[in-house]
């Protein structure tokens, strides 16, 4: 695959990636911010419009391709990962972006999602997690917090939600990032990283549904609490957070611990330094697991490690087979092995060839 360098002069401004279609998301929907971030990332990456294929499933966020002046395919519920896999295998030069909600990715399409992760197809998977089914007007989803009252759970849900990060890591995922829809700059930065990563890059966006699940992420994203409740990870940097930047994450035994710098003799050298590239995903699991109120929510690129890429390996296998094939053409294949010839006039076989 070609690698992307940041061009000196972007090909297009972010807004120039928008199509002429009127955007029809609800006013205030987090999807607008995601689209802004994607356009910014495309601009920064200097992508040509025709080299991008955006594949979506069904749901509010899956209208995404219609709003972008790239190639786009609005498919069916749950299947965008499968369709996108075919797109990438057909043309590896394309930059394939999957836009899918929590239903598409984790309920009806859960199977395709984990297998895309396992295969490590070189695509970007933007998972719009709003913890609710919006397009069908407010039923709980596989990421809805236990006990939540929705239209289909009038007495509160009695099932446990998926943790996207842990699912991705459990499926041997090599790139996982989490971002809040309130931070366009961080989203754009993470999406650039996702595109540069060779293999499947999953970006979980904590996306607010203003109609059916408004403020579900407020504790994480509101101006008042976000500094204390988000840990923005940067590779190679100590894990510090907090309104006064005086809190940090330390490893204690096999568990993480929130500490305050300056208390009990804690200094920055006691904190974990984020290593997104480390082969073992144990720490990445611990980071993905962190939950309020005991821990901040980890944001940014949690894991980004190189590994065998499905489409690249398949292409390499095909190339090797082309070089070592004993057949020069299909005609040669069809005439290989046991054939026999009927000569004109004889109506009899003249033996084995």
């Amino acid at each position: 695959m070609s690698t992307i360098g940041t061009p000196a002069q972007p090909l297009f401004k972010p807004k120039e990636y928008a199509s002429s279609q009127e955007v029809k998301w609800c006013p205030g929907c987090g999807d607008y911010a995601v689209m802004n971030a994607v356009q910014r990332a495309f601009s920064e990456l200097g992508l040509k419009k025709e080299e991008v294929a955006i594949i979506s499933g069904i749901g509010c966020s899956s209208r995404f391709p219609y709003y972008m002046d790239t190639y786009g395919f609005h498919t069916i519920h749950g299947r965008p990962a499968a369709v996108a896999t075919g797109v990438k295998l057909a043309n590896r030069d394309l930059r394939v972006w999957v836009m899918a909600g929590d239903g598409d990715s984790l309920a009806i399409g859960g199977n395709h999602f984990i297998h895309a992760v396992r295969r490590n197809v070189d695509m970007n998977f933007i998972l719009f997690n709003n913890q609710i089914y919006g397009l069908t007007k407010g039923q709980y989803s596989p990421t809805t917090e236990r006990g939540t009252v929705t239209k289909s759970s009038p007495f509160g849900t009695v099932e446990n939600p998926f943790s996207v990060g842990e699912l991705v890591l459990g499926a041997q995922g090599r790139f996982f990032a989490r971002v809040p829809d309130t931070d366009v700059k961080l989203m754009a930065k993470v999406m650039v990283e996702a595109e540069k990563h060779q293999g499947l890059s999953v970006v979980e966006v904590l996306q607010n549904c203003v109609i059916f699940n408004d403020e579900v992420f407020d504790a994480i994203t509101s101006k008042e609490t976000r500094a204390d409740n988000q840990l923005i990870l940067e590779h190679g940097k100590p894990m510090r957070f907090g309104a006064n930047n005086d809190k940090g994450i330390r490893l204690r035994g096999l568990e993480l611990e929130v500490v305050t710098l300056g208390q009990n003799g804690i200094t920055e050298t006691d904190l974990l330094v984020h290593d997104a590239t480390c082969a073992s995903n144990v720490l990445h699991h611990l980071l993905a697991q962190m939950r309020l109120p005991d821990f901040p929510i980890a944001m940014g690129v949690i894991r980004s490690t190189a590994g065998p890429v499905f489409d690249a390996d398949l292409a390499a296998q095909m190339k090797a087979e082309q070089e070592r094939s004993k057949y020069a053409s299909l005609d040669a294949l069809f005439l290989s092995g046991n054939t026999f010839t009927i000569q004109p006039g004889t109506d009899k076989p003249d033996g084995i060839t």
Binding site: S19, Q21, K48, K49, E50, E51, V52, A53, I55, I58, P65, Y66, M68, T70, Y71, G72, F73, H74, T75, I76, R79, A82, V83, A84, T85, G86, V87, K88, L89, A90, N91, L94, N111, H112, H115, Q317, M318, E321, Q322, R324, S325, Y327, S329, L330, D331, L333, F334, L335, G337, N338, T339, F340, T341, I342, P344, D347, K348, P349, I352, T353
Partner: protein, 621 residues
């Protein structure tokens, strides 16, 4: 049952036959499929017409020695008159009592039966449900029985070959095959070559099999009492180069050839399912030819990945059988709506649900024609013989890509696993395929702009500069290609999608029939039952009967001249392996005719004899 001595006087010597049906039957671990396949290869290479019918249980190893575990391989070969694998064997090889039992009711009079005498002990008879020994109790009266101690003689023949008991036991199928080669006066070099090549690295195994083969051959040769040996002349055929091919292999090769003719890579997204899996396995071998095979996580991902590959410019295919078709239904609708080329191969088996996975049936026809939500027309083709699977696959790709539509290609277990000689085609002999690809900016282009003749839209693949567009499952505006919920537009698009598929009729060959001048009865068939229907009608016509046959490969749309054939006949009988699906389809499409039905839903193909009986009955009325 006659003794060998009694028979030797009359039967010794060669009997020339036009065609012979032979069935190898044994436990599913006895290697009957291999024995049958090797025999088929030999007779095919020596110029006989052939048709085969493997018949095996759905369990990998059903309980040993029971009727449920019997695996059979029937081959019909001859110089002429081979229309399908034959009704009943002239020669039955039964490796145990269960194999004999499961074939008893199908035996034709004076059948030659080869059995392994060693496997007819008390326990073996009990397992097969015989109260007394059928070799002794008169059950086989009228047949010619060759009861050879196959197990013990095989062991003796390979005693010093250095194999353990179990491996030695596995050679008895070759002893039986050697006997059959002698009975039919066939050379063994083809089979010997197979073992030498296949077990190059295990010479002991190769040697043991070859010894068993020769021992069986010599056993018949040296026996003073031989029921009969048969000679079958090579078939008269069109000059050319032939090879023996199964339906699934021919279909896989046809897909490769079609993609090549279209100038595109072939993409297969599939999930293993009996009896379609062989197609995927065959294609997976040919990466050298630019074939991309994705063994997907499920049936849905199989077709969805194919749809994605089609969007991105590959010739895309998914292969499956009935239960998998059910799962792919929603995605077929997406391909209809987005007007992408896609070939969906359904190798039918007995249904509903899991049904009869290894048995044949034609019961997915209406599912193919109608089985989707909304008004969702697709082209439906059906393959009539193993070799014809090649041409149908090429045609499916031609129609799918040139008309920008999904095409469902119906095969069936019987055709997929059966084999016959295929006159090898070169790519030059195949029709050209010209997909409507647009690669340069065109100001007049819109995503759903259409070719006036075919009504196909252009295939503009991602990566093409300045033609970015979006497609999807939502209804699109006829002109702009943007999402539209306009009522007039929807009705217009429904009509356009229907007309596009109906227009395919302008591009397919006219329907043919055999039996010019006949008036009384027209036999109508479709798909894989071609051989027996054709055979039955040919035989009746040679007896002077007023009967004709027409066989459909193009189900939807029907060939334009279909009605003009039907109207020439007083009566029409539609014969199919279901309860009347094609008949009901014809009643809807061509309601001006009356359709009689002849149906069979037993998981088995038609027999020439039962068809003739039915047709005679109809002709007599």
């Amino acid at each position: 049952m006659k003794s060998h001595e009694e028979m030797s006087g009359t039967m010794n010597g060669k009997e020339a036959m036009e065609s012979v049906v032979i069935k190898f039957a044994g436990d599913s671990g006895d290697g009957m499929q291999l024995a049958g396949t090797l025999f088929t290869d030999t007779v095919a290479v020596h110029g006989k017409e052939i048709a085969t019918f493997p018949d095996f249980p759905s369990e990998i190893r059903a309980p040993q020695g029971t009727v449920a575990g019997v695996s059979g391989f029937q081959v019909h070969f001859g110089s002429s008159g081979v229309h399908g694998p034959g009704d009943a064997p002239d020669v039955l090889v039964a490796m145990n009592p269960a194999a004999l039992k499961s074939n008893l009711k199908d035996l034709r009079p004076a059948c030659t039966i080869v059995v392994d005498r060693d496997s007819f002990g008390k326990r073996d008879l009990d397992k097969a449900g015989f109260a007394t020994d059928p070799l002794e109790d008169g059950t086989l009266d009228g047949h010619q029985v060759l009861a050879a101690p196959i197990t013990s003689m095989t062991k003796a023949a390979i005693a010093d070959a250095g194999l353990d008991n179990k491996s030695a036991d596995r050679c008895k199928n070759m002893f039986a095959l050697g006997m059959v080669y002698r009975l039919f006066d066939q050379p063994m070099d083809q089979t010997i070559g197979f073992f030498q090549h296949k077990f190059k690295k295990s010479p002991a195994i190769a040697e043991a099999n070859i010894r068993a083969l020769k021992a069986g051959h010599n056993y018949v040769l040296t026996m003073e009492a031989v029921p009969a040996t048969y000679t079958v002349q090579p078939a008269a055929r069109t000059p050319g180069t032939y090879r023996n091919i199964t339906g699934n292999q021919a279909l896989a090769w046809g897909l490769m050839a079609g993609a090549k003719k279209a100038g595109k890579d072939l993409f297969l997204g599939s999930y293993p399912i009996t009896p379609a899996t062989d197609i995927m396995q065959e294609l997976a071998k040919h990466k050298w030819a630019g074939v991309k095979v994705l063994q997907a996580e499920d049936e849905i991902a199989g077709i969805c990945s194919a749809i994605g590959a089609s969007f991105a410019g590959d010739v895309a295919v998914t292969t499956t059988s009935g239960p998998g078709m059910a799962l792919k239904t929603e995605a077929i609708g997406l391909a209809v709506m987005t007007e992408l080329p896609l070939v969906i191969v359904n190798v039918q088996r007995g249904g509903p649900s899991t049904g009869l996975p290894t048995k044949t049936e034609q019961s997915d026809l209406l599912q193919a024609v109608c089985g989707r939500n909304g008004e969702s027309p697709v082209v439906v083709l059906a393959a009539s013989t193993p070799a014809a699977c090649f041409d149908r696959a090429v045609e499916a790709i031609k129609i799918a890509t040139e008309h920008m539509t999904p095409v469902i290609l119906l095969s069936e277990s019987y055709v997929a696993n059966g084999a016959e000689p295929w006159k090898v085609k070169t790519l030059d002999e195949l029709p050209a395929i010209h997909p409507p690809v647009l690669t340069r900016p065109d100001p007049a282009w819109t995503p759903y702009g259409r070719d006036p003749a075919t009504l196909a839209r252009k295939w503009v693949v991602p990566g093409t500069p300045a033609l970015q567009h979006r497609i999807g499952g939502l209804e699109k505006d006829e002109c702009t290609g943007c999402v539209s919920h306009d009522p007039q537009n929807h009705e217009a698009m429904v009509a356009l999608r229907r007309q596009k598929v109906e227009r395919v009729a302008d591009f397919i060959p006219e329907q043919k029939f055999r039996g010019k001048g006949a008036k009384k009865l027209l036999v109508v068939g479709w798909g894989g039952q071609f051989g027996t229907l054709f055979g039955a009608v040919t035989e009746l016509r040679s007896e002077g009967k007023d009967i004709a046959v027409t066989h459909f490969n193009h189900i939807h749309p029907l060939p334009r001249n279909t009605a003009s054939i039907f109207e020439q006949f007083e009566r029409i009988v539609v014969c199919e392996l279901n309860s009347g699906q094609f008949a009901n389809y014809l009643r809807a499409v061509l309601p001006q005719f009356t359709y009689l039905q002849y149906n069979k839903v037993k998981g088995r193909p038609f027999k020439v004899s039962e068809l003739k009986e039915k047709f005679n009955e109809l002709l007599a009325q």
